[in-house]
Amino acid sequence: MALLQRGRCCGAAATTSLRRLVLGPQRRVCESHVSSQYRASSSLPDEKKEFLQNGPDLQDFVSGDFSDKSMWAEYKGNLKRQKGERLRLPPWLKTEIPVGKNYNKLKSTLRSLNLHTVCEEARCPNIGECWGGGEYATATATIMLMGDTCTRGCRFCSVKTAKNPPPLDLNEPYNTAKAIAEWGLDYVVLTSVDRDDILDGGAEHFAKTVSHLKERNSEILVECLTPDFRGDLKAVEKVALSGLDVYAHNVETVPELQRKVRDPRANFKQSLQVLKHAKKVQPDVISKTSIMLGLGETEEQVYSTMKLLREADVDCLTLGQYMQPTKRHLKVEEYVTPDKFKYWEKVGNELGFHYTASGPLVRSSYKAGEFFLKNLVEKRKTKVI
């Protein structure tokens, strides 16, 4: 948001100088007076004239290159929130506006099959990058099952909430499998909203989607980012035994902030139990979790949380920066620097996680396929040697 606002202000300055350039020659023709083109600028104070002369021109905006990575270290803006303040977005969190053929193709496929993505519902900043696909990477999307409306209202999440969301679409497992097969992905992440209104929390629906998918394409790697099913371990078991490769469930934040950040029906102990149980019933599965930084946690709390997770035999960890999605949600308490994220990555590797993806824009399923496959390939290589 901050970027767009700044862009608008600068844009006005750019068009003013452009207009002056356009007016100049015309005036010269009309009045055949060389000095007349400067008549418009004579009313401006000197410092404004200098500002416009030395400031950005249209070329800078057209080229689209606004994030100079070498300048991150020089960023002098406030990173820790003071009372009554709302922090500005630091430069390393600015992303491009999503456009492009792949992005549009994905969007229309999703709509035509009545599918939802958490990418759109939770306003992920990486949507352009993941959906657009890279030069070598195929586009990825995290499909959100069981509708776009959740039964809980957590203070960090902008997914729609309702007490009684619309009933489940019974064709969804089949349609999802069909869409994913169409896209030819080799790694897919399935997630869902919380459905406390359904008896098993939607576990059966989830499991069915995974098995349909594996039936259509047994080679595809499936990661499921599940809700906590209100601690119902039978539901966890149903999903864990459905044939998936990675079982993910996010603890979201340190134990001390659980009450503030998440819905009161969720808590750390319950989430940890979900992860432990998945491993218990399906020892081959890889478990994964995610923490958001910047909500007011201390470094000691983050470190002890990471230790607790490792002790629960969680294999993969992702750490990302919390970004306030709408004004009804929690303000960002701190913008953690990219260097700090790199530090946590080191800590994670030292503690023994299979991989630790850590960065301001990293999310639970960001490049999940890439990390997973890269790791798997490396591990296999060392085994051979």
Binding site: K83, G84, C150, T151, R152, G153, C154, R155, C157, K160, T161, A162, K163, G231, P255, E256, L257, Q258, R259, K260, D263, P264, R265, N267, F268, K269, Q270, G296, T298, K327, R328, H329, L330, K331
Partner: protein
């Protein structure tokens, strides 16, 4: 016709919010607006208020009322009670702001926004609801 253009000051209600830092925020709403509407529409600085958009699926709009106002509020429904029970720092005069609509007798009332979480220095919060 003329009734439509006439903006009555009789339906305006002033509410004072004491936020978690102890600051007093004053806002004006219309009779019939919920307290959540007032907070959101007037951009009041209350962190994480109304996460579920007023659908009785969270307790982030928990507010504490003055005794004499609390007595006159409409009876609480079971759905509101279920969510209110999960709120942190519950008091005898607590209600969910999204369910309380402005009425004339509320003019100039003061509501308090309770703490959202226990002191962070306390150890792991094991919720009773697990």
């Amino acid at each position: 016709m003329d009734v439509l253009l006439f903006s009555s000051s009789e339906d305006k209600v002033t509410v004072h919010f004491i936020n978690r830092d102890g600051d007093k925020l004053t806002a004006e709403g219309k009779v019939g607006d919920s307290l959540l509407d007032v907070v959101v529409d007037k951009n009041l600085d209350i962190d994480g208020f109304g996460a579920c958009e007023g659908t009785l699926a969270c307790s982030t709009c928990h507010l504490i009322f003055e005794d004499h106002i609390f007595e006159k509020l409409d009876a609480i429904t079971d759905e509101e009670m279920d969510m209110l029970d999960l709120a942190y720092g519950l008091t005898e005069t607590s209600r969910l702001g999204c369910q309380i609509c402005l009425k004339k007798f509320m003019n100039n009332m003061t509501v308090r926004v309770p703490e959202a979480v226990a002191d962070a220095r306390q150890s792991i919060d094991m919720s009773k609801n697990s």
